[in-house]
């Protein structure tokens, strides 16, 4: 594929860090859950990415001070993860991925109780619970039993529980998981409002790259307990810039000609993406098209999505990850659906 991305990408960030780890390692017997993790997560929104078993949960538990790191050190909001777990958990809001609500309670009292567990006065907690539920969009349903809530309303209630004390950092584990399009949009905009208007930081673990991209400006990618990439999404994408062209006629000669010119070309039918590694890439493409007589109908800078970036990094690490496009791109024969026998087909 010709992509040159080192296994560990580190793009320098501002010195305003909310989470910092140095050589953080956590092992369960012979299994290394986290290995030599050097992280620097700045204020703002950061996406925590990684496949199942990458170490995301272990990382979250370690920075919450719930499990002791085997070696290395780290701070969250300036507090030591080894000795100041209580202080950390008091200052962050954690929104778990899985159900963490009592279905027999109504939302307002559930959120109030979560505030009381942080040490809030009951009256103050109740007042803040109203505000938090209003903010997450279920103010009108706050006296309904959680057992009757939809998935989106439960997610919103969990977020309200996490933000009742206005924490400096909200850790949201799969916040848009299982939501329909409308509630997913609302969840994304709510997180964005917290980051942009509320000036709060969010660490968002998610499998939905699109959501991470819309909320976060930074990502941390873990793979098998090790850091695979971290930095600003824009910067990481820029490492792998491409130019996309749509060709009419002579695509194969053009592809060959461009490769001969030293360009790195990926082709899918009449759409080609050429690595934008040098200043005169555009000129070389046009020159090649001119020489072989191919028409270039469209030509633009291809903006890679976060999913592209994720796939590329995983590819560089030697893992084949199926993207949604891959799943649709199987052999046409495999997707063939024949007409029923009554209409002259084989009935397959």
């Amino acid at each position: 594929m010709g992509r040159r991305i080192s296994p560990v990408l580190v793009v320098p960030m501002e010195n305003d860090l909310i989470i910092q780890t140095k050589a953080l390692t956590k092992s369960y017997g012979p299994h290394m859950a986290l290995e030599d993790l050097n992280l620097s997560i700045p204020r703002g929104a950061t996406g925590l990415l990684g496949q199942n078993g990458a170490g995301k949960s272990t990382f979250l538990k370690t920075i919450l001070g719930l499990i002791q790191a085997t070696s290395g050190e780290g701070t969250v909001l300036g507090y030591d993860i080894k000795t100041q777990g209580v202080e950390i958990r008091q200052r962050i809001g954690y929104m778990p991925e899985y159900d963490a609500l009592n279905p027999g309670m109504d939302a307002i009292h559930q959120v109030r109780y979560s505030g009381e567990l942080l040490g809030m006065n009951p009256v103050v907690a109740m007042s803040r619970a109203h505000e938090a539920l209003q903010f997450v969009g279920i103010g009108e349903q706050r006296y309904r039993d959680i057992g009757s809530f939809s998935t989106g309303m439960k997610q919103a209630t969990k977020l309200a529980c996490a933000i009742i004390h206005d924490p400096a950092l909200v850790i949201a584990d799969e916040p848009s998981n299982g939501l329909d399009m409308k509630t997913r949009e609302f969840m994304i905009s709510t997180l964005n409002t917290m980051v942009n208007d509320g000036q709060r930081s969010v660490l968002m673990a998610s499998h939905l790259m699109d959501d991470v991209e819309r909320v976060c400006e930074n990502i941390v990618l873990l793979h098998k307990g090790r850091l695979a990439a971290q930095g600003k999404i824009e910067d990481l994408k820029a490492i792998d810039r491409e130019i996309e062209i749509h060709v009419w006629g002579g695509a194969t000669p053009l592809e060959q000609r461009m490769k001969d010119s030293g360009l790195t070309v990926r082709r899918e039918g009449r759409v080609m993406r050429i690595a934008h590694t040098q200043e005169d890439t555009t000129r070389l493409i046009l020159q090649a098209a001119s020489e072989v007589g191919a028409q270039i109908r469209q030509m633009h800078e291809y903006e890679a999505s976060l999913e592209d970036l994720f796939l590329t990094i995983m590819d560089n690490l030697g893992y084949t990850v199926k993207s949604s496009e891959d799943l649709l791109r199987g052999k046409s024969e495999a997707r063939r659906v024949d007409a029923p026998e009554s209409l002259g087909g084989s009935g397959a």
Binding site: S57, P96, L101, Y113, S114, E116, D166, M194, G198
Partner: protein, 338 residues
């Protein structure tokens, strides 16, 4: 039969008023330039999302622990706290009222002036023992069932609903979590067992005008009964919560506790009757508490083949094992996934 008319150009236009309402009163000859678009309504957002900051004070550990305790205790009485099931609440009320039976009979004895009724139900060594440790009906129908209903979901439902994450992602330690849950179950049982015991004692004082000398005289017995009741509650709670911690449902811990209490008691009883050996009662939590209770209150012991210290050692071992299981299981409860 309908009065049909032929629709010719000269025919009158009927229903004009309704058409005017529907389409407006204009003639239809207006120029395009002067036409107003009727639909000028804008889609407004009633919901305005605004993040409000908070700069309040978070209280220390004791306040967090008090919140857990209050959440569980007040849940018995009102909504907005831990949602104890309605059967649990109703049964606690029934057990509470039933446990006041001896107090009521003491008042009745005072009212009718019957020394015989008072000798059956009034405060004495045997009746004080019977109030907390009598097998039938209190330790068959009331106290173990109250304990089973309470411990059923206290920890297992946190595991089931994932609400353990709500605790452990906050500055609540596992020790505080277990401690407060344990204390809340103990206090609710105390409401049924020990509060009624106090009321019983108070009823005797008020109804029969007992003076200080009587109170000082009876106080050691009363205190011994109180301690015996505490041992009973603690034992049931330890066993019940350990079962709750290994489960994800409400049924297993409750039925498991009843099975242990009644199963071991039945087994010990069968072995005793068949082989005239009492040793197996050391496996029965109720029998051990009863034996220790009889010793400290000073009533006639039912178990006389072995010293009461055996039962005490057995009780300590049972509680220690139960607490070990409880601590181990709670320490393995997850925050990120359960």
């Amino acid at each position: 039969m309908s009065d049909s008319k032929e629709l010719t150009p000269e025919a009158p236009v009927t229903g004009k008023a309704r058409m005017d309402v529907a389409w407006g009163a204009n003639t239809g000859d207006e120029t395009n330039a002067s036409t107003n678009v009727a639909s000028t309504a804008q889609s407004g957002e009633i919901f305005e999302q605004e993040y409000t900051q908070w700069n309040g004070i978070l209280n220390p550990r004791w306040m967090r622990n008090w919140a857990i305790l209050r959440h569980h205790l007040l849940g018995i009485f009102k909504k907005g706290h831990r949602p104890w099931s309605m059967p649990t609440r109703i049964f606690i009320l029934i057990a509470f009222l039933a446990s006041l039976g001896d107090a009521a009979m003491t008042l009745l004895a005072s009212l009718i002036g019957s020394a015989e009724v008072h000798s059956w139900f009034g405060v004495n060594r045997d009746n004080l023992y019977a109030h907390v440790l009598g097998f039938f009906p209190r330790n068959v129908l009331w106290y173990p069932i109250v304990a089973a209903l309470l411990v059923g979901g206290v920890i297992s439902e946190d595991r089931h609903h994932g609400t353990s994450a709500l605790y452990f992602s906050r500055p609540v330690s596992r020790f505080d979590y277990i401690g407060m849950k344990y204390l809340s179950v103990v206090l609710i049982q105390s409401f049924v067992v020990l509060l009624t015991y106090l009321i019983y004692f108070l009823a005797e004082i008020l109804a029969f005008g007992r003076g200080w000398s009587w109170m000082i005289d009876v106080f050691p017995m009363f205190l011994a009964g109180l301690i015996a009741g505490m041992i009973l509650i603690v034992t049931y709670t330890s066993l019940g919560l350990s079962l709750s911690s290994v489960s994800r449902g409400r049924f297993f811990p409750g039925i498991g506790l009843l099975a242990i209490v009644f199963g071991t008691k039945t087994l010990a009883s069968i072995v005793k009757n068949l082989f005239e050996r009492e040793i197996l009662y050391l496996l029965s939590p109720y029998d051990c508490v009863a034996h220790v209770g009889q010793a400290i209150i000073g009533t006639q012991p039912t178990y006389d083949q072995y010293p009461w210290t055996y039962s005490l050692v057995s009780l300590v071992a049972m509680n220690a094992a139960a607490l070990y299981i409880l601590a181990t299981r709670v320490s393995s409860m997850e925050v990120t996934r359960e």
